[in-house]
Amino acid sequence: MSKQHVTTTINGEPAEFLAEPFMSLLDALRDEMHLTGSKEGCGSGDCGACSIIVDGRLVCSCLMLAVEAEGHEIITIEGVANGDELHPVQRKFLEHAALQCGYCTPGLIVATKALLDRHPNPTETEARYWLAGNLCRCTGYDKIIRAVMDAAAEMRGVTA
């Protein structure tokens, strides 16, 4: 069971790690790269707490082998803010109090960023469907959806 060397790009920076062949990308991020913002809520792709963006596509990092990351570009929650400056999606989540325990929040922020990168003007229903893979047990989703729609409007340059 030899470890494989993986070269990838994480949050814009070249990154390398050693991964056992069966290791999930989520485990590699958390344990090898010490990026603990991505969470394991289920390990089966049902909750979305481990959401990351790979080559522009939203995926669950628990459903991807670490070795599959070779040569790909990864964005995690740690790469969403610009230094100390929150991304508009993060700022709107804060303003609307769209998080409570915060455990699902990194996945939701990443999923929302992926949504707005691709669909800058979603309807509320589209937003709800896009985020249906992110379970949240605390908020009841309403404030999340308000924050997403508000962030979308701001990012399009519309005053909500």
Binding site: G45, S51, L63, L65, V67, E68, A111, G133
Partner: protein, 294 residues
């Protein structure tokens, strides 16, 4: 516990690897089923073969003859293909139902098919579209209608060393369209209790000249419901035809009884969904006809 990962870059390399391997080899496309099985310990392979570096296995090509969909193309890519969405809306809506946005970022048609779950969403839609799987293996290449791939829960007709490289869809006839509907205990992310796909072709008067009907999750494999198609061919999908379709759909069901749905419920809903999918398919085909007039 000697797992190894391989990512061949040609079909021949992949076939050689599959043929030469000892122990259990699992094929990795999107991995959305395989990684769950690995994590739970249900599957303990010796080799994982990642197909995604094989040329042609990712992406969609539109040709004169129709469409070629790479076997490992993720659902999200399928959902974004305008040409495919216009020609085969049923396949696109089925692919968009395979799990969440995150899962669609990875899950593929080949994975959905070869996992051989009776509830796989894309399979009824592919069957009604007349999709052909291009299977490669030690004896070269063969073309297999999708309905012949799955032979039982968890079992396929693929031989040792074989895997699916791509799917071919014919160019649809004029005034043709399709739809897929499924029923689950909630509206997103779960396993279908019933899935129903219908494809139709209409004549200039709006009469159905050709139809295919397929049901999922109501039998050990997805069913091609010939009686259901016959029930609506020759009609304009009037109430009598819909009632016959409903009855034909219910007649072929042989579902399991479990916590997701009892036999009675699954059978009843199969009829309801077949009717509704047929109505949507006809509406779409009529819309196309209207579109081609000017």
């Amino acid at each position: 516990m000697s797992l190894s990962y391989a990512s061949p870059t040609t079909v021949n390399e992949a076939v050689a690897l599959l043929t030469g391997a000892t122990g259990l080899t699992k094929i990795l496309s999107g991995g959305t089923d395989l990684l769950v099985q690995l994590r739970s310990g249900r599957v303990k392979p010796d080799i994982i073969m990642d197909t995604k570096k094989i040329p042609g296995i990712l992406g969609i090509i539109e040709t004169e003859a129709g469409f070629v969909i790479g076997a490992a193309t993720p659902g999200a890519v399928i959902g974004e293909h305008a040409g495919l969405a216009a020609a085969y809306p049923g396949i696109v809506e089925a692919a968009n139902l395979i799990g969440s946005t995150q899962v669609q970022g990875r899950a593929s048609l080949a994975g959905n098919l070869c996992n051989a779950s009776p509830a796989a969403d894309s399979v009824p839609a592919m069957i009604t579209a007349g999709a052909i799987a291009i299977v490669v293996g030690p004896n070269g290449q063969r073309a297999v209608p999708v309905e012949q791939i799955v032979i039982g829960p968890g079992r396929t007709s693929l031989a040792r060393g074989e895997f699916i490289l791509e799917f071919k869809l014919p160019k649809p006839a004029a005034r043709s369209s399709g739809a897929y509907l499924r029923f689950i205990p909630r509206t997103e992310m779960d396993i279908a209790v019933v899935g129903a796909a219908v494809n139709v072709t209409l004549d200039a008067a709006g009469v159905i000249t050709h139809a295919r009907v397929s049901l999922g999750a109501v039998a050990p494999t997805q069913l091609l419901v010939v009686d259901g198609a016959n029930a609506i061919i020759g009609s304009k999908l009037d109430d009598a035809a819909l009632a016959k379709l409903d009855a034909a759909a219910r007649a072929v069901c042989n579902p399991i009884d479990d916590k997701r749905g009892t036999i009675d419920f699954r059978i009843k809903v199969a009829g309801v969904l077949a009717r509704r999918a047929a109505a949507i398919a006809v509406q779409r085909a009529l819309g196309q006809a209207a579109g081609t007039k000017h």
